[in-house]
Amino acid sequence: MTRQSGRKRRSQLVWNVVGVAVFVVMVFPVYWMISTAFKPDDEVNRLTPTWFPLHPTLAHFGDAIHRPFFWDDVKNSLIVVLVTVALSMVLAFLAAVSLAKFRFTGRKVFVVLMIGVQMLPPAGLIIPLYVVLSRYHEAPNALIGVIITYMTFVLPFSVWTLRGFLLGIPRELEEAAMVDGSSRLGAFVRILLPLVAPGLVATSVFAFITSWNEYIFANVLLTDQSKQTVTVWLSYFYGTSRYTDWGGLMAASTLTAIPVVVFFLIVQRKIAFGLTAGAVKA
């Protein structure tokens, strides 16, 4: 008995060691990005790397935010992301209610459309979008072109996820409200909306992340440097003419990743649930 439990404990220890090792390997690139960002140049460019910043400095962050167009592009990213998320959530919520609460002819076609759109490789749509948008003079640099493009890719996912959250609400709650004399709309606003609020938050954060991280469309549709988004700004981050400014590049990368990481950590449980609830059930 004791021998067996001893063996069990030993194998538990082995698994834990493996788990920590996997953690170290997976997280190392993120750690390396942050620690490089805090290292002074001579430490960054040393042939033998130092595992920790020995003399931490904020200099690279200062350089990064004072680079041309950083604040312009942060502002653009925020505008694009916030408008995309706000519009998408309103439209997606209405459609999700329709899918979750009604049976109607053509419902299946709509579902196929929603899922099908998500499958489209973005690269396949660059050329027509570029050609169509360049027919209008302002268009190649208008944020609105990027916003509606992002919406197309955010909407299907949002509809699908919100539908999942709506289905999670017990029908009886909604019916109880209607028996109380509320109209369907009243029941909807007073009962459904507060219950689905967490789902709405989770979905909008996911939409935030998707549009903040997007690169191809922003790169092609926004050519003026002051009109680009942060990811495009980061992709054009060059060093000085002599060598690549690795410290600055890593500081800029860290700054680009921060908003996404923060939001992702807030909602990751809900997102994992939203994505997988259906798959697990089937």
Binding site: W15, G19, V20, V22, F23, M26, V27, P29, V30, W32, M33, L47, T48, P49, V97, S98, R107, K108, V111, L113, I115, G116, V117, M119, L120, P121, A123, G124, L125, I126, I127, P128, V131, I148, T149, M151, T152, L155, P156, Y215, T231, L234, F237, T244, L249, M250, S253, T256, A257, V260, F264, L265, Q268, A272, L275, T276, G278, A279, K281, A282
Partner: protein, 327 residues
């Protein structure tokens, strides 16, 4: 209707008839309103998608049948050339090589992602509580890294002058990797892209499979253990069949994503090093259509690519629709 207001039978009949028809009318209106409500609710989404996808898709088909270069872009109209773009592409060796390369690339990427992801999910079940929290938060951190950021970090870690990967491999006595150029050969370039993509894709697989593992009845596994089954047999005979729907969905999603991947190879393989020997389908389409400003040709490649992805998606979409019907 009170009894005092009934003059005779005929009047009653007329009145109730009128009332009935009015009531029917109201009922019909209510029913109509109720029937159109779901359509009104999906209308805005349909309109948005129709504008951004419908028109460009129509435009894509049109472009692919035209000669449409810079001159035509400025003039805003192309020259009709029928299927010339398609036949040029289908006679282009580069297209077939790119297709083959992309298929192999996809299989390798999806294979690594699924196998490593599943192993880590099984590991997540075995480790004790605190380690599980540590590992899963680490995975979420990786999940949230923007692709452009990940590319920059990867490039820094593998640069030939003082990349930390080169240093670590040399220190581990796996060979002399100082000054080793990871971006020197096509194989090495695509291997770098693969490690980057697999690293970023693993967390999604782990989280999803781990959630699925919670569905596997503990008694089944215990019973198999009592019977003396080895753990890989338990996985194959008990766990895998229950998780099969999840694996199918994850695999088909990964295939579709990896087949159309753009950002990582485009940014990780330097612009000057992108050429016909290392193209993936998205890059091929981007270089031929957008960079060389041959939009008609690019459109034709896009159509071919979209058709291939559509064929691959059929399975996934059907599964998801069936799920949408059940719930």
């Amino acid at each position: 209707m009170s009894s005092r207001q009934i003059p005779d039978h005929a009047a009653v009949a007329v009145e109730t008839g009128a009332l009935r028809s009015r009531r029917r009318h109201v009922a019909l209106r209510v029913r109509l309103a109720r029937a159109s409500l779901p359509y009104l609710l999906i209308l805005p989404v349909l309109a948005a998608i129709g504008v951004v996808l419908g028109y460009p898709l129509y435009n894509l088909v049109e472009l692919s049948l035209q000669r449409y270069g810079l001159f035509e872009l400025i003039r805003h109209s192309g020259t009709w050339i029928g299927f010339a773009n398609y036949s040029a592409i289908l006679h282009d060796q580069v297209f077939w090589h790119t297709l083959l390369r992309t298929v192999v690339f996809t299989i390798v990427n999806v294979g690594f992602t699924m196998v490593i992801g599943t192993l880590l999910a099984l590991l997540l079940v075995r480790v004790s509580g605190p380690i599980r929290i540590l590992l899963s938060s680490g995975l979420v951190l990786v999940w949230s890294m923007p692709a452009v950021v990940a590319v920059q970090v990867w490039y820094w870690m593998t640069n030939f002058q003082n990349g930390v990967v080169n240093y670590a491999l040399t220190q581990l006595h796996l060979g002399d990797f100082s000054q080793h150029d990871w971006y020197g050969t096509t194989f090495s370039q695509l291997a770098m892209v693969t490690t980057l993509i697999v690293w970023g894709a693993i967390p999604f697989v782990v989280v999803t499979v781990y959630a699925g593992l919670a569905q596997v009845p503990g008694e089944l596994v215990e019973a198999a253990e009592v019977d003396g089954a080895r753990s890989w047999r338990i996985f194959l005979d008990v766990t895998f069949p229950i998780l099969k729907p999840i694996f199918l969905i994850l695999t088909s999603l990964s295939i579709i994503w990896d087949f159309g991947v753009f950002t990582q190879p485009y940014l990780l393989i330097e612009q000057s090093k992108l050429n016909a020997s290392n193209y993936l389908m998205s890059i091929y389409l981007f270089e031929e259509g957008y960079f060389k400003s041959d939009f008609g040709r690019g459109a034709a490649i896009s159509i071919l690519m979209l058709l291939m992805v559509a064929a691959m998606s059929v399975f996934y979409v059907r599964r998801m629709v069936r799920m949408g019907d059940v719930t």
